[in-house]
Symmetry: C2
Subunit: 182 residues, 2 copies
Protein backbone atom coordinates (compact mmCIF):
# COMPACT_ATOMS: atom_id res chain seq x y z
CA UNK A 1 0.00 0.00 0.00
CA UNK A 2 1.78 3.11 -1.25
CA UNK A 3 1.00 6.69 -0.26
CA UNK A 4 1.88 9.76 -2.30
CA UNK A 5 2.46 13.41 -1.59
CA UNK A 6 2.04 15.44 -4.77
CA UNK A 7 3.02 19.10 -5.11
CA UNK A 8 1.30 20.94 -7.98
CA UNK A 9 -1.34 23.66 -8.31
CA UNK A 10 -4.02 21.29 -7.01
CA UNK A 11 -4.86 19.74 -3.65
CA UNK A 12 -6.44 20.74 -0.33
CA UNK A 13 -3.17 21.79 1.34
CA UNK A 14 -1.75 25.25 0.63
CA UNK A 15 2.07 25.27 0.70
CA UNK A 16 3.10 28.09 3.08
CA UNK A 17 6.87 27.54 2.82
CA UNK A 18 9.48 25.12 1.42
CA UNK A 19 12.89 25.15 3.14
CA UNK A 20 15.96 23.07 2.29
CA UNK A 21 17.41 22.41 5.75
CA UNK A 22 20.20 20.18 4.44
CA UNK A 23 21.11 19.18 0.90
CA UNK A 24 19.97 20.65 -2.37
CA UNK A 25 17.03 22.88 -3.26
CA UNK A 26 13.59 21.47 -3.78
CA UNK A 27 10.99 22.68 -6.32
CA UNK A 28 8.24 24.86 -4.91
CA UNK A 29 4.60 23.97 -5.49
CA UNK A 30 1.52 26.08 -4.76
CA UNK A 31 -0.55 23.27 -3.27
CA UNK A 32 -0.21 19.69 -2.14
CA UNK A 33 -2.35 16.56 -2.38
CA UNK A 34 -1.85 13.63 -0.01
CA UNK A 35 -3.06 10.23 -1.26
CA UNK A 36 -2.95 7.64 1.51
CA UNK A 37 -2.55 3.88 1.06
CA UNK A 38 -3.39 3.34 -2.58
CA UNK A 39 -2.35 0.44 -4.80
CA UNK A 40 -0.99 0.85 -8.34
CA UNK A 41 -0.77 4.59 -8.25
CA UNK A 42 2.58 4.95 -9.98
CA UNK A 43 1.40 7.65 -12.35
CA UNK A 44 3.41 10.82 -12.27
CA UNK A 45 1.33 13.66 -13.69
CA UNK A 46 3.04 15.85 -16.25
CA UNK A 47 2.42 19.11 -14.47
CA UNK A 48 3.37 18.26 -10.91
CA UNK A 49 6.30 20.07 -9.30
CA UNK A 50 7.19 17.03 -7.24
CA UNK A 51 5.86 13.62 -6.17
CA UNK A 52 7.13 11.68 -3.15
CA UNK A 53 6.03 8.09 -2.44
CA UNK A 54 6.32 5.90 0.63
CA UNK A 55 4.67 3.23 2.73
CA UNK A 56 3.60 3.12 6.34
CA UNK A 57 5.04 0.06 8.15
CA UNK A 58 5.50 -1.65 11.49
CA UNK A 59 7.67 0.17 14.05
CA UNK A 60 11.37 -0.61 13.71
CA UNK A 61 12.94 0.60 16.98
CA UNK A 62 10.23 0.94 19.63
CA UNK A 63 10.38 -1.42 22.62
CA UNK A 64 7.38 -2.52 24.72
CA UNK A 65 7.70 0.17 27.41
CA UNK A 66 7.97 2.90 24.79
CA UNK A 67 5.04 1.42 22.91
CA UNK A 68 2.90 1.62 26.07
CA UNK A 69 3.77 5.31 26.42
CA UNK A 70 3.13 5.99 22.74
CA UNK A 71 -0.24 4.23 22.86
CA UNK A 72 -1.45 6.83 25.39
CA UNK A 73 -1.57 9.45 22.65
CA UNK A 74 -2.58 7.68 19.42
CA UNK A 75 -2.09 9.85 16.32
CA UNK A 76 -5.33 10.87 14.66
CA UNK A 77 -4.98 12.51 11.25
CA UNK A 78 -7.50 14.74 9.44
CA UNK A 79 -8.88 16.38 12.60
CA UNK A 80 -10.58 19.61 11.42
CA UNK A 81 -8.93 21.66 14.22
CA UNK A 82 -5.46 20.62 13.04
CA UNK A 83 -5.33 23.10 10.17
CA UNK A 84 -1.52 23.26 9.90
CA UNK A 85 0.80 20.51 8.67
CA UNK A 86 4.43 19.78 7.88
CA UNK A 87 5.94 17.31 5.41
CA UNK A 88 9.61 16.64 6.16
CA UNK A 89 11.40 14.31 3.71
CA UNK A 90 14.74 13.04 5.08
CA UNK A 91 17.66 11.11 3.62
CA UNK A 92 20.36 9.52 5.78
CA UNK A 93 23.89 8.67 4.59
CA UNK A 94 25.34 5.26 3.68
CA UNK A 95 27.11 5.04 7.03
CA UNK A 96 23.71 4.93 8.77
CA UNK A 97 22.42 2.18 6.51
CA UNK A 98 25.56 0.11 7.05
CA UNK A 99 24.97 0.14 10.81
CA UNK A 100 23.32 -2.93 12.33
CA UNK A 101 19.91 -2.83 14.04
CA UNK A 102 21.39 -2.60 17.58
CA UNK A 103 23.77 0.21 16.55
CA UNK A 104 20.98 2.21 14.89
CA UNK A 105 18.71 1.73 17.90
CA UNK A 106 21.49 2.94 20.23
CA UNK A 107 21.97 6.19 18.29
CA UNK A 108 18.22 6.68 17.74
CA UNK A 109 17.12 6.32 21.34
CA UNK A 110 19.90 5.81 23.89
CA UNK A 111 21.98 8.69 22.43
CA UNK A 112 19.26 10.88 20.88
CA UNK A 113 16.07 10.14 22.89
CA UNK A 114 14.07 10.39 19.67
CA UNK A 115 11.02 8.71 21.24
CA UNK A 116 11.66 9.88 24.82
CA UNK A 117 11.88 13.57 23.94
CA UNK A 118 9.03 13.48 21.39
CA UNK A 119 6.54 11.89 23.79
CA UNK A 120 5.46 15.10 25.51
CA UNK A 121 4.48 16.71 22.17
CA UNK A 122 2.34 13.89 20.87
CA UNK A 123 -0.94 14.93 22.44
CA UNK A 124 -0.82 18.08 20.29
CA UNK A 125 1.02 16.84 17.20
CA UNK A 126 -0.38 13.98 15.09
CA UNK A 127 2.15 12.24 12.90
CA UNK A 128 2.65 9.40 10.44
CA UNK A 129 5.92 7.97 9.13
CA UNK A 130 6.34 6.70 5.56
CA UNK A 131 9.31 4.65 4.33
CA UNK A 132 10.68 5.56 0.89
CA UNK A 133 14.22 4.20 0.62
CA UNK A 134 13.21 0.69 -0.38
CA UNK A 135 11.25 2.07 -3.32
CA UNK A 136 14.31 3.75 -4.88
CA UNK A 137 12.92 7.20 -3.96
CA UNK A 138 15.14 10.31 -3.48
CA UNK A 139 14.44 10.39 0.30
CA UNK A 140 14.54 7.58 2.88
CA UNK A 141 11.60 8.78 4.99
CA UNK A 142 8.64 11.09 4.61
CA UNK A 143 7.44 12.39 7.99
CA UNK A 144 3.97 13.94 8.06
CA UNK A 145 2.68 16.05 10.96
CA UNK A 146 -0.68 17.76 11.61
CA UNK A 147 -1.29 20.32 14.38
CA UNK A 148 -3.21 23.49 15.30
CA UNK A 149 -1.92 26.76 13.91
CA UNK A 150 -1.37 27.91 17.51
CA UNK A 151 0.86 24.87 18.20
CA UNK A 152 3.38 25.54 15.43
CA UNK A 153 5.90 26.96 17.92
CA UNK A 154 5.69 23.68 19.87
CA UNK A 155 6.33 21.79 16.65
CA UNK A 156 9.36 24.00 15.94
CA UNK A 157 10.70 23.17 19.40
CA UNK A 158 10.53 19.46 18.53
CA UNK A 159 12.25 19.80 15.12
CA UNK A 160 14.91 22.13 16.62
CA UNK A 161 15.67 19.47 19.23
CA UNK A 162 15.87 16.57 16.76
CA UNK A 163 18.18 18.50 14.40
CA UNK A 164 20.79 18.75 17.19
CA UNK A 165 20.77 15.04 18.14
CA UNK A 166 23.55 12.54 17.26
CA UNK A 167 21.01 10.79 15.03
CA UNK A 168 20.82 13.89 12.81
CA UNK A 169 24.58 13.69 12.07
CA UNK A 170 23.58 10.95 9.64
CA UNK A 171 21.00 13.11 7.83
CA UNK A 172 22.31 14.40 4.48
CA UNK A 173 19.10 15.84 2.97
CA UNK A 174 16.14 17.37 4.74
CA UNK A 175 13.35 19.50 3.31
CA UNK A 176 10.78 21.20 5.55
CA UNK A 177 7.48 21.94 3.81
CA UNK A 178 4.84 23.77 5.86
CA UNK A 179 1.19 23.70 4.84
CA UNK A 180 -2.28 24.94 5.72
CA UNK A 181 -5.52 23.11 5.01
CA UNK A 182 -7.89 25.00 2.68
CA UNK B 1 13.36 -0.80 -6.35
CA UNK B 2 10.85 -3.60 -6.67
CA UNK B 3 11.61 -7.18 -7.70
CA UNK B 4 9.10 -9.60 -9.16
CA UNK B 5 8.76 -13.35 -9.35
CA UNK B 6 6.39 -14.29 -12.17
CA UNK B 7 4.99 -17.79 -12.70
CA UNK B 8 3.73 -18.48 -16.23
CA UNK B 9 4.85 -20.61 -19.18
CA UNK B 10 7.90 -18.39 -19.70
CA UNK B 11 11.17 -17.79 -17.89
CA UNK B 12 14.51 -19.48 -17.34
CA UNK B 13 13.49 -21.38 -14.20
CA UNK B 14 11.56 -24.65 -14.57
CA UNK B 15 9.12 -25.21 -11.69
CA UNK B 16 9.83 -28.68 -10.30
CA UNK B 17 7.25 -28.59 -7.49
CA UNK B 18 4.82 -26.26 -5.70
CA UNK B 19 3.87 -27.22 -2.13
CA UNK B 20 1.51 -25.41 0.22
CA UNK B 21 3.23 -25.98 3.59
CA UNK B 22 0.73 -23.85 5.52
CA UNK B 23 -2.37 -22.01 4.37
CA UNK B 24 -4.26 -22.28 1.12
CA UNK B 25 -3.30 -23.75 -2.24
CA UNK B 26 -1.24 -21.83 -4.71
CA UNK B 27 -1.60 -21.88 -8.52
CA UNK B 28 0.96 -24.00 -10.35
CA UNK B 29 3.02 -22.51 -13.16
CA UNK B 30 5.30 -24.32 -15.61
CA UNK B 31 8.15 -21.80 -15.46
CA UNK B 32 9.25 -18.77 -13.48
CA UNK B 33 10.89 -15.46 -14.32
CA UNK B 34 12.74 -13.43 -11.67
CA UNK B 35 13.04 -9.69 -12.35
CA UNK B 36 15.39 -8.05 -9.85
CA UNK B 37 15.29 -4.42 -8.73
CA UNK B 38 13.19 -2.73 -11.37
CA UNK B 39 11.24 0.51 -11.13
CA UNK B 40 7.67 0.99 -12.36
CA UNK B 41 7.05 -2.64 -13.22
CA UNK B 42 3.56 -2.95 -11.80
CA UNK B 43 2.15 -4.64 -14.88
CA UNK B 44 0.47 -7.94 -14.28
CA UNK B 45 0.38 -9.93 -17.51
CA UNK B 46 -2.93 -11.52 -18.41
CA UNK B 47 -1.60 -15.02 -18.78
CA UNK B 48 0.55 -15.38 -15.70
CA UNK B 49 -0.40 -17.94 -13.05
CA UNK B 50 0.97 -15.76 -10.27
CA UNK B 51 3.10 -12.67 -9.64
CA UNK B 52 4.76 -11.87 -6.32
CA UNK B 53 6.52 -8.55 -5.67
CA UNK B 54 8.91 -7.39 -2.96
CA UNK B 55 11.90 -5.24 -2.17
CA UNK B 56 15.31 -6.04 -0.75
CA UNK B 57 16.12 -3.86 2.28
CA UNK B 58 18.55 -3.25 5.14
CA UNK B 59 18.78 -6.00 7.76
CA UNK B 60 16.19 -5.67 10.53
CA UNK B 61 17.45 -7.98 13.32
CA UNK B 62 21.16 -8.70 12.80
CA UNK B 63 23.60 -7.34 15.39
CA UNK B 64 27.27 -6.48 14.74
CA UNK B 65 28.71 -9.87 15.81
CA UNK B 66 26.21 -11.75 13.66
CA UNK B 67 26.92 -9.40 10.77
CA UNK B 68 30.65 -10.21 11.02
CA UNK B 69 29.85 -13.92 10.81
CA UNK B 70 27.42 -13.42 7.92
CA UNK B 71 29.96 -11.34 6.00
CA UNK B 72 32.28 -14.36 5.87
CA UNK B 73 29.96 -16.05 3.36
CA UNK B 74 28.46 -13.31 1.18
CA UNK B 75 25.55 -14.53 -0.93
CA UNK B 76 26.30 -14.58 -4.64
CA UNK B 77 23.32 -15.21 -6.91
CA UNK B 78 23.31 -16.47 -10.52
CA UNK B 79 26.33 -18.75 -10.12
CA UNK B 80 26.14 -21.26 -13.01
CA UNK B 81 26.86 -24.22 -10.72
CA UNK B 82 23.85 -23.36 -8.53
CA UNK B 83 21.29 -24.89 -10.86
CA UNK B 84 18.58 -25.47 -8.24
CA UNK B 85 16.53 -22.81 -6.47
CA UNK B 86 13.66 -22.37 -4.03
CA UNK B 87 11.17 -19.53 -3.69
CA UNK B 88 9.42 -19.59 -0.31
CA UNK B 89 6.74 -16.91 0.23
CA UNK B 90 5.74 -16.56 3.90
CA UNK B 91 3.02 -14.69 5.76
CA UNK B 92 3.06 -14.17 9.54
CA UNK B 93 0.00 -13.49 11.69
CA UNK B 94 -1.21 -10.20 13.21
CA UNK B 95 0.18 -11.19 16.60
CA UNK B 96 3.71 -11.14 15.16
CA UNK B 97 3.23 -7.71 13.63
CA UNK B 98 1.87 -6.33 16.90
CA UNK B 99 5.04 -7.36 18.71
CA UNK B 100 7.67 -4.68 19.28
CA UNK B 101 11.16 -4.80 17.75
CA UNK B 102 12.80 -6.23 20.91
CA UNK B 103 10.10 -8.91 21.25
CA UNK B 104 10.42 -9.96 17.60
CA UNK B 105 14.21 -10.07 17.86
CA UNK B 106 13.96 -12.26 20.98
CA UNK B 107 11.77 -14.85 19.24
CA UNK B 108 13.74 -14.65 15.97
CA UNK B 109 17.20 -15.20 17.42
CA UNK B 110 17.35 -15.83 21.19
CA UNK B 111 14.49 -18.42 21.01
CA UNK B 112 14.82 -19.68 17.42
CA UNK B 113 18.52 -19.15 16.46
CA UNK B 114 17.39 -18.17 12.97
CA UNK B 115 20.78 -16.62 12.13
CA UNK B 116 22.88 -18.86 14.41
CA UNK B 117 21.57 -22.13 12.97
CA UNK B 118 21.56 -20.91 9.35
CA UNK B 119 25.20 -19.77 9.40
CA UNK B 120 26.73 -23.17 8.71
CA UNK B 121 24.67 -23.60 5.52
CA UNK B 122 25.49 -20.27 3.95
CA UNK B 123 28.67 -21.26 2.14
CA UNK B 124 26.55 -23.64 0.04
CA UNK B 125 23.22 -21.83 -0.10
CA UNK B 126 22.96 -18.33 -1.59
CA UNK B 127 19.92 -16.37 -0.52
CA UNK B 128 18.14 -13.05 -0.81
CA UNK B 129 15.21 -11.75 1.25
CA UNK B 130 12.46 -9.58 -0.23
CA UNK B 131 9.87 -7.68 1.85
CA UNK B 132 6.29 -7.72 0.54
CA UNK B 133 3.94 -6.83 3.40
CA UNK B 134 4.36 -3.07 3.06
CA UNK B 135 3.25 -3.27 -0.58
CA UNK B 136 -0.14 -4.82 0.28
CA UNK B 137 0.98 -8.17 -1.19
CA UNK B 138 -0.52 -11.57 -0.18
CA UNK B 139 2.73 -12.63 1.58
CA UNK B 140 4.97 -10.73 4.02
CA UNK B 141 8.30 -12.08 2.74
CA UNK B 142 9.65 -13.77 -0.36
CA UNK B 143 12.77 -15.80 0.40
CA UNK B 144 14.90 -16.84 -2.58
CA UNK B 145 17.61 -19.50 -2.41
CA UNK B 146 20.06 -20.87 -4.99
CA UNK B 147 22.18 -24.01 -4.52
CA UNK B 148 23.67 -27.01 -6.32
CA UNK B 149 21.35 -29.90 -7.15
CA UNK B 150 23.52 -32.09 -4.89
CA UNK B 151 22.98 -29.71 -1.94
CA UNK B 152 19.19 -29.88 -1.91
CA UNK B 153 19.19 -32.27 1.05
CA UNK B 154 21.23 -29.70 3.01
CA UNK B 155 18.66 -27.07 2.09
CA UNK B 156 15.87 -29.37 3.28
CA UNK B 157 17.67 -29.75 6.61
CA UNK B 158 17.63 -25.98 7.02
CA UNK B 159 13.92 -25.53 6.17
CA UNK B 160 13.00 -28.53 8.37
CA UNK B 161 14.79 -26.87 11.28
CA UNK B 162 13.21 -23.43 10.77
CA UNK B 163 9.70 -24.89 10.52
CA UNK B 164 10.01 -26.27 14.06
CA UNK B 165 11.24 -23.03 15.70
CA UNK B 166 9.10 -20.79 17.96
CA UNK B 167 9.35 -18.13 15.22
CA UNK B 168 7.40 -20.41 12.87
CA UNK B 169 4.41 -20.51 15.27
CA UNK B 170 3.63 -17.07 13.83
CA UNK B 171 3.68 -18.25 10.21
CA UNK B 172 0.15 -18.68 8.80
CA UNK B 173 0.95 -19.18 5.08
CA UNK B 174 3.99 -20.75 3.50
CA UNK B 175 4.45 -21.98 -0.06
CA UNK B 176 7.58 -23.90 -1.11
CA UNK B 177 8.34 -23.65 -4.83
CA UNK B 178 11.35 -25.65 -6.09
CA UNK B 179 12.99 -24.79 -9.40
CA UNK B 180 15.74 -25.76 -11.80
CA UNK B 181 17.59 -23.38 -14.13
CA UNK B 182 17.14 -24.15 -17.84
Amino acid sequence: MISSFIGSNEGNWLVRSTSAIKGSDFPIAERMLRIDNELNHWKVEKQVQWQLNGFNSNMRYTNRNERKELDKTPSILNLPENNFAALIPIKKNDEWWQLTQDERRNIFEEQSAHIGFSLKYLDKISRKLYHSRDLGEPFDFLTWFEFKETDESLFNELTDYLRYTPEWNYVISEIDIRLERI
